[in-house]
Structures are given as C-alpha cells and as structure tokens.
C-alpha cells in the first residue's frame, strides 16, 4: 500500500504540472486558434529564470529559503509572462492571417532557438542544474506511507493556481473578455474590447502559468535542464488535445488523465516502468482515434 500511496502523490503532482502546461495551449488556441509549439521551451526558460533568481537571491545574502522561493517564482512568472506576450506581439499576431501551419512551424523553430540558446549561452547550459531545495523537508508518516511536506505544498500551490485561473476566467471582466474573444473575435471587438491587448494578456497569462509549472518541476525533481520543455510541452499539448482543445476544464482533466496513465504504466502493467510514456502516449493515440475532438469538445458544435 505504501508504494501505491507514493505513486498516487506522484501522479497528482505530475497531473498538476501537466494541467498547468495544458491550460496554456488551450488558452492560446481559444483566443487565437493557434497552436504554439514553443510553449514547452518557454516553460524551460521560466524554470531557468526561477533557478537564476533563487541563486541570485542567495548570492545577495538572502539566506531565508522562502525569500529565495518568492524571488524565484516572481522572477520566473513575470519574465516568462513578458516573453509570452512578446512572442504573441512580434511573431504570432503579425502572422494572424497566414496559414496556421506557418505559425506552427515558426513556434516550433522558436522553441528550438530558445532551447539551444539556453544550452549555449547559459553558463554550463548543456548540463543539468541542481535546483536548490527551497521547501521544508519535513515529512509525515502515515503507517507505511510517507507524505513529504514539499510535495504537499507543491500540489496545493499548483491547485491554487488552477482554481485562481478558473476564478479569473469565470468571475472577472478580463475573463469575460477572454471568453468573448475566444468565441467570436470580431463581435468581441465591436463590444469595445481591445482585442490585441486581450491576446497579449492571454499569452502572458498562459506563459506565466507555464513558468509556475517549470519551477514546480524543478523543485520536485531538484533539477532543471535545457531540454526539460520538450517532453513537458508535448505532454501538455497531448493533455490539451485529449481534453478538447479550447476547453479549460478539458485541459485540466487531460493533464491529470495523462499522469494517471503514466502511473498505470509504471505500476500496473507487466513491463518495466521505463515504458510508462510509451503506454501513456499509445493510449492518447487510441483516445484521439475514439474521440477526435477530445473528451470535452469545445469547438465542433460552434462552427456555423
């Protein structure tokens, strides 16, 4: 039972991270109908920004790990939000009327450029970096099952971000504008919504959330590396697709579903746990064949 408990915590942890990545894909697709493949690498930049800020705060003499953590998260989120808005402003919006494939390709190449830039220009960038352990290392024992405080805090923080996003989208004027733009860009404009601003804010929002996922990932595995965005981006994208691209709750569901599949692949199946991704992606392929528009389809009925 104890092992199962660990897997469960691990699964919820990963599900939260994947959900945070997936909501970005779904937000971008919602407002602009584009798929931004650089999202995973933007996440990686966010993780490195957070890593740098944590080291920087330590170098400046802030020994309190909570100050380092605050600096890390603040710097990662704000820097990545700016990066996301800049990508939208100078790469994606100018290509708005170009074929969708062009945007897909350009963001794919941008992702490679970001990844290689970190590898080449970050000091010793090609090697993994040890992310400092900034969370308390307390652990609670429940019978045979150990719950670590850092894991619990990360899950709580991640879920708080998801709930916060839900409130933002559903309860605020900004969220109403984002939903309006996602449903009908042109009519949203005629309501007096500043379309460009909403697109930039949405990209900043999605990218900032990805940075949270990046820092969480760094704290959980105590490591960041230049290639971490590749798999996380792909998983986040798959999660958004199986949930139903454009639907926020589909993306969250997809994230947790993918993590669950990985855990099933690691625990319940009769082959080595190294095959968990093979299993999870195979199920994703099957799911897409079964429900091409995702589990909670957002768009299919809307095309009039």
């Amino acid at each position: 039972m104890d092992l199962l408990g660990q897997y469960l915590v691990n699964g919820i942890m990963l599900g939260t991270i994947y959900a945070l990545v997936a909501v970005g894909f779904t937000l971008f697709f919602g407002v602009l109908d584009v798929i931004k493949f650089s999202h995973g690498d933007v996440l990686m930049v966010g993780a490195f920004a957070g890593f740098t800020a944590a080291l920087g705060a330590a170098a400046l003499g802030f020994t309190n790990p909570f100050v380092q953590l605050a600096a890390s998260v603040l710097f990662a989120v704000s820097g990545t939000a700016l990066l996301g808005a800049a990508i939208a402003k100078w790469l994606i919006l100018p290509l708005k009327n170009a074929p969708r494939l062009n945007i897909l390709l350009i963001t794919l190449m941008l992702g490679t450029a970001l990844r290689e830039s970190v590898r080449l220009f970050y000091p010793d960038g090609s090697n993994p970096k040890a992310f400092p352990a900034l969370l308390p290392s307390t652990a609670w024992q429940f019978g045979n099952f150990t719950l670590r405080a850092d894991s619990a805090l990360l899950v709580i923080a991640g879920i708080a971000v998801i709930v916060g996003l839900h409130m933002l989208i559903n309860r605020t004027r900004l969220g109403l504008a984002i939903r309006a733009v996602a449903q009908d860009e042109e009519t949203a404009r005629t309501m007096g919504i500043n379309y460009t601003l909403i697109v930039l804010v949405t990209f900043a929002l999605g990218s900032g959330i990805a940075a949270v996922a990046g820092v969480m990932n760094g704290l959980y595995y105590n490591e960041v590396n230049f290639g971490m965005g590749l798999l996380l981006g792909l998983i986040g994208f798959s999660a958004a697709i199986i949930g139903g691209l454009g639907n926020l709750y589909g993306a969250i569901l997809g994230g947790f579903l993918f993590a669950a599949l990985q855990m099933i692949g690691a625990v319940a199946l009769p082959f080595a746990s190294a095959y968990k991704d093979v299993f999870a992606f195979a199920v994703v392929i099957a799911l897409m064949g079964w429900k091409p528009t995702g589990l909670i389809p957002e768009r299919s009925s809307e095309r009039v």
């Binding site: 109403l176 939903r179 449903q183 009908d184 009519t187 404009r189 005629t190 007096g192 500043n194 379309y195």
Partner: protein
C-alpha cells in the same frame, strides 16, 4: 439636409473600401443627422455590410473620412471607435453562444467601468425585454432566434451609445418579431439616439426612417427623405417591382 441640424452623428465623405484591392465601396458620401433614423437600402452584395464594417474599423477604408460627431474615426481600431459612442447590432445577431444572456448583455457595456451603472442598464434592458430577465442565466446559444434578437438589441443598448448601427435586424425572423423589432427601433430614436439602419426590408424601413440612402454596386445611387425615396422611380424599380 436639414439646415438647422447640429453636428451630424455620422458624416462619411469620399469613402473607398476594398477587400484585397478590389473596391467594394466607391466614393460613398453619407450623412446621418443626430437624433434621426437614417436608413441604408440595397440588395445583397451592394456594400451595406462593408459600410458598417468600415465605420467600425473591422474593414478599414483606404480613402475618405468617417466622422462621428465631428471626430474622424476612419482607420481607428474598433474599440476606439466604440469609445466614441458607437454600438452595433450586427447582422445575424452574433450572440456569444456559450455565454449566458446576462454575460452577453454585460459585454455590451464592456467599456463602462462602474458596476452600479451596468446594473442600472441591465435593469433597463430587462424592463424592455422581460423574457431576458427570466432567462438571464441561460446560455445564449440555446435560445430561439427571436430571443437571440432581443439579446442582440439589448446588448447594443447596454453601451448607452450615441449612435446605434443596426445591420439587417429583420433577417431570418418571423414577421411578428420583425414588427416588434421595428417598434423598438422607433422607441430607441424617441430616446434621442441616432440610428443608422441597414435593411433590405424597404416598406417597414422607410415607414420608420427620417431619411435614407440606396446603395448599389458600392455606390450611393439615390438619397433623400423617406417620402422622397418611397416615390423615387429607381427605388420603385429596384424594390417595389
């Protein structure tokens, strides 16, 4: 035009608008006096909707000026045109289908920051359309065409505009709703709003309009008071058969 009229609500001069370099509107000159209903008549493809899109900045013109109460808005981004006091009830109603009725209405007042004022306007719209009050929490996409038309009109009024652009309000509606819509448009004018009404439905449109224009092939081919247009031989030939 009326010599004692104040600054016109809309004054369009020498307007050219093109899609992909092919002119759709050619040297269009239109004046919509404040506080009146000015209509724009024309068959499908005459350029009526393009004119509305040009005013709103959705398809910016490449020459000419569009003045809203004296301020040139040609080429401004749409939200800045709306900020001048313009609202639009678009062709085909264009609901946000997955937003509730109330959310749709609130979007009409998007540029109004004061919640108290938004609530006051909501109450006003609900008093005009009691049906919408009953259905305020329902998704707009699940309502009937006539109810959606109410949402669309209510949404246009929520912005407390000075000029209301209405694009084919009778399209696809039953005669009963069409009649009701025209009655509401008249009421709106009675409250001092300027209405710029684009329609194909000549009889009912001219019955409530003060003056109008007829467009064909992207040009204004006739203009005058509603009575003049009714008696104009070209208009009769084109519409009254």
């Amino acid at each position: 035009m009326d010599a004692i009229a104040p600054l016109p609500a809309i004054e369009i001069s020498g307007l050219y608008t093109a899609y992909d370099k092919a002119d759709v509107l050619t040297d269009v000159n239109i004046v919509a006096p404040a506080g009146q209903i000015t209509c724009l008549l024309g068959s499908n493809g005459a350029g009526k909707t393009t004119l509305i899109r040009s005013i709103l900045g959705l398809t910016p013109p490449h020459a000419g000026s569009i003045k809203v109460f004296g301020e040139d808005v040609a080429g401004l981004p749409t939200h800045r045109v709306i900020a001048k006091g313009v609202a639009c009830i678009p062709e085909g109603r264009r609901m946000f289908p997955k937003l509730t009725v109330e959310e749709n209405l609130r979007l009409g007042a998007y540029q109004e920051p004061a919640e108290a004022e938004i609530r006051r306007r909501l109450a006003e719209v609900y008093s005009v359309f009691p049906r919408l009050a009953e259905r305020r929490g329902q998704l707009a996409g699940t309502m009937s065409g006539g109810e959606q038309a109410m949402v669309s009109i209510g949404r246009g009024l929520m912005g407390k505009p000075r000029v209301l652009l209405i694009d084919e309000p009778s399209l696809g509606l039953s005669p009963l709703y069409v009649k009701e819509n025209f009655r509401i448009i008249e009421n709106v004018r009675a409250q001092g709003l300027t209405v710029f009404l684009v329609e194909q439905n000549v009889h009912q449109t001219l019955a409530i309009s003060d003056s109008g224009y007829v467009v064909s092939g992207g040009r204004v081919v006739a203009q005058g008071s509603a009575a003049e247009l009714r008696n104009n031989a070209d208009v009769r030939a084109a519409y009254f058969g």
